[in-house]
């Protein structure tokens, strides 16, 4: 079941609770907008949330799992299960439009689709140069914008 289906079929309380779970590092961006929530399955006894990390080795998994369970237990009395899909299939296409916009504006993080370097999210020129394949986290590369002279990180 895709997330679009999920939004229609699951209890809106569950979806709004998941929307309120923020990424531990981007504290103002929801895990739903980051495309980390992959599917929600419900039975009479339990709610199973399937999550897809941006990278299989993501060190934030335990914290996210804890926050999801805590958020859902507040709105649902069934047993809450969290399962991680570790096939590495997260791509930047899973980011919502608002997440892309927010990552650029608030965090100076650009999104790369395909091979080419993205435009600078701050000055909107094509002046980014990749400096390092990984930065403070393994899911982001480090780039320098020679036009506005800011350090940009790149997802994807």
């Amino acid at each position: 079941m895709t997330l679009a289906d999920v939004a229609h079929r699951t209890d809106s309380l569950i979806m709004s609770a998941l929307h309120a779970v923020m990424d531990p590092e981007y504290g103002t961006v929801s895990i739903v907008d980051l495309g980390i929530v992959d599917a929600v399955d419900e039975t009479a006894e339990r709610v199973t949330v399937q999550l897809l990390p941006t990278m299989a080795g993501c060190p934030a998994r335990e914290v996210i799992e804890h926050d999801v369970k805590a958020a859902l237990s507040r709105v649902d009395r069934r047993k809450i299960d969290v399962k991680w899909r570790l096939d590495g299939s997260w791509t930047p296409e899973r980011l919502s439009h608002s997440a892309c916009e927010q990552l650029g504006r608030e965090f100076s993080v650009a999104i790369r689709h395909g091979e080419a370097l993205p435009t600078c999210p701050l000055c909107l020129t094509d002046a980014l140069r990749e400096v390092a394949a990984v930065g403070p986290t393994r899911c982001r590369a480090v780039a320098w914008c020679s036009h506005c002279r800011n350090v940009i990180e790149i997802v994807g």
């Binding site: 590092e25 965090f107 100076s108 390092a132 930065g135 403070p136 393994r138 480090v142 002279r149 350090v151």
Partner: protein, 302 residues
């Protein structure tokens, strides 16, 4: 590029919430002050990351090893971002900053001049020291009139906030552990409480340019006091004691008041003359030498 006719006009711009950009014609004194601040921050992230790296092999269990790997990557990555912004200011090159650090001519946070003796020390650092560093960085981010620094601080503060949750998780494990574990952690608190409190620095001078130019938002003593109000009851709540005989609650305000702080240990660390300064610097020099092949390889492939 914007220019200002004089310092009054520049200060009025800052007072109005203005953000200085890299190509603005900022007054030289401002440039120097911001540069010095970022260089100190970068040095501290690097020295902190190297220490955490040393503990990766000693982490008890895969989960904690993963946490320490991620933290080390964060700190070294933060240093990288900060050195890029600092080097762009045109005061010193990256190489000059590295040499000045390794040859003991520049400073880094006091807490990285002490030795972590046991695994519990690393947890005390994650819980107490990271929280102090986080509070202090957050207070810089709240104002931070230099745009390129403010933008990387947004990400750094987010990541440090995440470290604090790890610190809390690890403290809970020890607090609920055996008598031996609790004793280990109490000993670590005894070693790290004062360095953590001193990380905020002595009271800010009345005419502190860092405050006047909105590089940071709050006075050192205000941040330190707020930190003590939060961490004294937290540690006591877990059943640990604070190594301060004079610690008491003010009967009128209900605020936690500490004994007078002996600033001599802090002054020693600022001269790279703390208890573990020499070993830490030697360690950083060795690391720099051992990783040279990697930097060379990157340069060749670029």
């Amino acid at each position: 590029m914007r220019t200002w006719n004089d310092i009054e006009e520049f200060e009025a711009f800052l007072d109005g919430g203005g953000l200085v950009e890299a190509d603005d014609g900022m007054p030289d004194a401002f440039r120097q002050e911001v540069f010095r601040f970022i260089e100190f921050h970068a040095n501290s992230e690097l020295m902190g990351g190297l220490t955490e790296r040393d503990w990766i092999p000693h982490s008890p269990g895969v989960r904690l090893k993963q946490i320490f790997l991620a933290k080390t990557q964060d700190e070294i990555g933060h240093a990288h971002l900060l050195y890029m912004v600092a080097a762009d200011m045109g005061v010193k090159t990256r190489e000059q900053m590295t040499n000045d650090l390794l040859e003991g001519r520049t400073r880094f946070h006091n807490v990285f001049h002490y030795r972590a003796e046991t695994w519990a020390d690393q947890i005390a650092i994650a819980f107490l020291v990271d929280a102090a560093a986080f509070a202090s960085q957050r207070a810089v981010f709240a104002e931070c009139s230099y745009g390129p620094y403010k933008r990387i601080l947004r990400r750094i503060v987010g990541e440090e906030g995440f470290h604090m949750r790890h610190g809390e998780e690890m403290v809970l494990r020890l607090a609920n552990g055996s008598e031996t574990q609790r004793k280990l952690f109490q000993d670590a608190i005894n070693r790290w409480w004062w360095p953590a409190v001193q990380l905020f620095g002595p009271d800010s001078p009345p005419d502190d340019p860092l405050l006047r130019w909105h590089i940071k938002s709050e006075r050192n003593e205000v941040l330190r006091h707020a930190y003590v109000q939060k961490y004294v009851p937290l540690l006591q709540g877990y059943g640990f004691t604070i190594p301060d005989d004079g610690l008491h609650r003010d009967p009128d305000t209900g605020q936690w008041m500490m004994s007078a702080i002996d600033w001599e240990p802090l002054r020693a660390t600022l001269k790279n003359d703390g208890p573990d300064s020499a070993r830490r610097l030697a360690n950083a020099v060795r690391n720099h030498f051992e990783t040279r092949w990697f930097r060379d390889a990157i340069e060749v492939s670029a």
